[in-house]
C-alpha cells in the first residue's frame, strides 16, 4: 500500500507515528513504523498474535518510550515533551480500555469511574455522582454502580472499563483487544456501543484487535503489522485490505476467517 499521507487536505492528523521503532532491550518489536490517525475515525491496529500490536498501543498511551521516531499528538511530539506535559496530554485527551479492563479491584464500579474526576476536576460530589451515572448508563451499567469488579462478568467488566475510560471526556479512546474473551453477541453489542460513542461524542478511537468480525464492523481505517519484517505492511480500512490489498499475507489474514464465517466462499 502507499505510504500514509495526510488524510484531509492539509489538515494535521490527530495522531501520527513517524518512523517509530519499538524495542525491549536489544529485541526489536516494530521498526520504522509510520501511520496517521484521522480525527473522528475508528483506527484499527491489526496483525497476528505476537506482532507487537499491544506494544504499539503502549507507546501511544505513554507506557513505553520508542527507541527512535516520533509520536505526534496534533503535531506535538509526545515523547519529546516533558513528563508533566505528557501526563497532562494523557489525562486531558486519552482514555484507555485495557485488555482485562484493569478496574481497580478494591473499589466499586462507581468509584472506579469517579476517581479520575475526583482527582483531576473541581466538580462537587453530587455532580460527579450524576456524571458517573450518565457514563455508566451509556454503557448500560447503571445498575452495577455499587458492585465490586469481582462480582462482574467479563463483558460487564469491559463495559465498566469503558465507562471509566470516558470519565474525563477524552477525545481519543484507546482499546486493547476490546472483544477478546467476549461472546459474539456481547462483542457485537460492544461494537455498536463503540460506534455510538464515536458518532455521538465525536471521539477518535484507536483499537488494537485481531477479531475480524469486529474489525470489519467498526474500523474505517487501519494499519497491518507484520511480525517477520517487523513493520507495517499495509494501510487502509479492514474491508479495503481484504478486497484490494496486493500483499498476499494481508489478504490471507483478512480473508481466512472471513471465508470460514461465510463457509460457501471456500469451495
Amino acid at each position: 500500500m502507499a505510504a500514509p499521507g495526510p488524510a484531509g487536505s492539509g489538515e494535521t492528523p490527530l495522531l501520527a507515528l513517524r518512523g517509530v521503532t519499538l524495542a525491549f532491550g536489544p529485541k526489536v518489536i516494530q521498526q520504522n513504523l509510520s501511520f496517521d490517525v484521522r480525527r473522528g475515525s475508528i483506527f484499527a491496529v491489526m496483525g497476528g498474535s505476537g506482532c507487537g500490536k499491544s506494544t504499539v498501543l503502549k507507546a501511544m498511551i505513554g507506557l513505553l518510550r520508542p527507541k527512535a521516531g516520533s509520536f505526534l499528538v496534533e503535531g506535538e511530539d509526545y515523547w519529546a515533551a516533558t513528563e508533566a506535559r505528557r501526563t497532562e496530554i494523557g489525562r486531558q485527551r486519552f482514555g484507555v480500555l485495557f485488555q482485562n479492563a484493569a478496574l481497580w479491584s478494591a473499589m466499586t464500579v462507581g468509584m472506579n469511574v469517579a476517581l479520575p474526576m475526583q482527582m483531576f476536576t473541581k466538580l462537587d460530589e453530587p455532580t460527579i455522582r450524576r456524571l458517573v451515572m450518565v457514563k455508566l448508563a451509556l454503557v448500560g451499567m447503571e445498575q452495577a454502580v455499587d458492585k465490586l469488579p469481582s462480582e462482574l462478568s467479563g463483558g460487564m467488566r469491559k463495559r465498566a472499563g469503558l465507562a471509566r475510560a470516558l470519565a474525563l471526556d477524552p477525545d481519543i479512546l484507546f482499546f486493547d483487544e476490546p472483544s477478546a474473551g467476549l461472546d459474539p453477541i456481547t462483542s457485537s453489542r460492544l461494537d455498536d456501543l463503540i460506534l455510538n460513542l464515536r458518532d455521538g461524542l465525536g471521539t477518535t478511537i484507536v483499537i488494537v484487535s485481531h477479531e475480524l468480525p469486529s474489525l470489519f464492523a467498526i474500523a474505517d481505517d487501519g494499519v497491518f503489522l507484520d511480525a517477520q519484517t517487523k513493520t507495517a505492511i499495509a494501510h487502509g480500512s479492514p474491508s479495503v485490505l481484504r478486497d484490494t490489498c496486493s500483499d498476499h499475507q494481508v489478504t490471507a489474514f483478512m480473508r481466512r476467517e472471513h471465508d470460514d464465517a461465510d463457509g460457501d466462499k471456500k469451495v
Binding site: T127, L131, A137, N196
Partner: protein, 386 residues
C-alpha cells in the same frame, strides 16, 4: 471530546450553558444554548419535577439551534429531562437535537432505579457473639483439617509416596532458610547483646559478673532464640506465603490446580509447611549460637571475666534438655506459622486489596500465635519440670 467546532478546548472561551422551557400548546419546548462541558461543573441539572403538572400525552421538544460545544454534560442534562418526562407521562421529541446527541440519548434508560441503601440494622450482641463463635469454630475446623491433610502428606512424603516435587520443596527451603540467615543472625545477636548488657549492669552490683553467662545462655536457648526466630519467620515467610497464595487465587491458579487434579495441600501447603519445619529448628540452633555470641562480646567488653571462663560457665549453665525444649518449640512454631499463613492465603478474596489484607493477617496471626504458644509451652514446662 469535541463537537461542532474544530477549535481545541484551550483556545476558545466557553459561553455558559443555558436552558429555558417555553410552554406551548402541545406541551413545552426546551431551548438549549451555550457550551455544555461536563468538567467545567457549570452544567445545570434538569429538575426531576420540572415537568410535573403537564398534561399526560403532552410533548417536550428541544431546540438546539443555539447549542455550542457539548460533551457528556449535555447528555447528563438530557437524560434528566428524559427521566422527568417519563415520570410525568410526557413524550419526548428529539428532532431538535443534534443527530449525535439523539444517538447517545437513545442508549440511556427511561428511568433510573436508585439503588436503595442497605438497610441498617442495629447492633445485636447475641447475633454478633453467635456469628463470631460459629466463624471461629469453623475456622478451627478448617485449620485442623488442613493440618491433618498436611500431616498425612508429610507422612506419605517420608515414605516417598506423596505427589510433592523435590524441586518445589528445595526452592521453598532455600527461600525460608539460607536467605533468612542474615536477618535471623542480626536479630538474635542483638537480643543476646541486650540481655548481656541488662544482666551485666545488675549482676556487677553483686560481684556476680560470671553469671551473665547463665542469664544469656538460658534466656537465649530456652526462650529468645526460638521466639525471635519464629517472629522473624512469621513476618518474612508467613506473610510471603499468604500473599503468594492469595495472588494465585486471584489469578485462578488455585482453581487450575484443582481442575488438573493436583491437591492444593500437596502442591502448595505441604512444601511450604515442610520447608518451614525443616528450616526453623536449624535457624533456631543458629540463632542460639549467634545470640550467645552477642552476649559473649558484650560481657567480655563490659565485665572483668575471661573468654574461656565465660564459655565454661555457659556450658555448665545450659544443659542439653534446654536445647531440646527450644528445638521442639521451634518445630511447633514452624508448623503453626506455615499452616495458618497458607490457610489465610487460601481463603483470601480475589482483589489486590485482599492480597494485602491476607499478608497482614498472616503476619499478625503468626506473631500473636507464636507468643501465645510460647506461653502455653512455659506452663507445660513448669508442670513437666524442665
Amino acid at each position: 471530546m469535541r463537537n461542532d467546532t474544530p477549535n481545541s478546548p484551550s483556545t476558545r472561551v466557553e459561553s455558559p450553558p443555558t436552558w429555558q422551557i417555553h410552554r406551548t400548546q402541545g406541551g413545552a419546548v426546551c431551548a438549549l444554548g451555550g457550551d455544555w462541558i461536563a468538567q467545567t461543573g457549570r452544567d445545570p441539572e434538569f429538575p426531576a419535577d420540572g415537568l410535573a403538572g403537564s398534561a399526560t400525552g403532552a410533548t417536550l421538544a428541544f431546540d438546539g439551534a443555539e447549542l455550542g460545544r457539548w460533551d457528556t454534560g449535555l447528555i447528563a442534562f438530557l437524560w434528566g429531562a428524559k427521566r422527568a418526562a417519563t415520570a410525568a407521562g410526557v413524550t419526548i421529541d428529539h428532532s431538535g437535537l443534534p443527530e449525535s446527541a439523539r444517538k447517545l440519548l437513545a442508549l440511556l434508560p427511561d428511568s433510573l432505579a436508585e439503588s436503595a441503601p442497605a438497610p441498617r440494622r442495629g447492633f445485636r450482641p447475641l447475633n454478633w457473639l453467635g456469628g463470631k463463635t460459629i466463624g471461629m469454630l469453623t475456622e478451627l475446623g478448617f485449620i485442623s483439617e488442613l493440618l491433618a491433610t498436611t500431616a498425612k502428606g508429610g507422612m506419605l512424603s517420608l515414605a516417598a509416596r506423596a505427589r510433592i516435587r523435590a524441586v518445589d520443596l528445595l526452592a521453598n527451603i532455600r527461600d525460608a532458610g539460607p536467605s533468612a540467615l542474615a536477618i535471623v543472625g542480626v536479630v538474635n545477636f542483638l537480643i543476646g547483646a541486650i540481655l548481656a548488657f541488662v544482666g551485666a549492669v545488675q549482676l556487677r552490683k553483686f560481684a556476680a559478673d560470671i553469671f551473665v553467662a547463665n542469664l544469656v545462655g538460658l534466656a537465649v536457648v530456652r526462650e529468645m532464640a526460638a521466639v525471635m526466630t519464629a517472629i522473624v519467620m512469621a513476618g518474612r515467610t508467613g506473610g510471603a506465603y499468604a500473599a503468594r497464595i492469595a495472588t494465585m487465587r486471584g489469578n485462578e491458579e488455585i482453581d487450575a490446580l484443582e481442575v488438573v487434579g493436583i491437591p492444593v495441600s500437596d502442591y502448595i501447603v505441604l512444601p511450604s509447611v515442610l520447608a518451614l519445619t525443616v528450616t526453623m529448628p536449624l535457624l533456631y540452633l543458629y540463632g542460639c549460637l549467634v545470640g550467645m555470641l552477642g552476649g559473649f562480646v558484650v560481657a567480655l567488653a563490659m565485665l572483668n571475666i575471661t573468654g574461656l571462663g565465660y564459655l565454661n560457665q555457659t556450658i555448665d549453665a545450659v544443659p542439653l534438655d534446654q536445647f531440646v525444649f527450644g528445638f521442639s518449640k521451634s518445630i511447633a512454631f514452624a508448623i503453626m506459622i506455615g499452616v495458618t499463613s497458607c490457610r489465610i492465603g487460601l481463603v483470601a478474596g480475589r482483589s489486590a486489596a485482599d492480597v494485602g489484607v491476607a499478608a497482614t493477617r498472616a503476619v499478625v496471626v503468626g506473631i500473636v500465635g507464636v507468643i501465645a504458644m510460647d506461653a502455653v509451652f512455659a506452663v507445660i514446662a513448669d508442670v513437666v519440670g524442665i
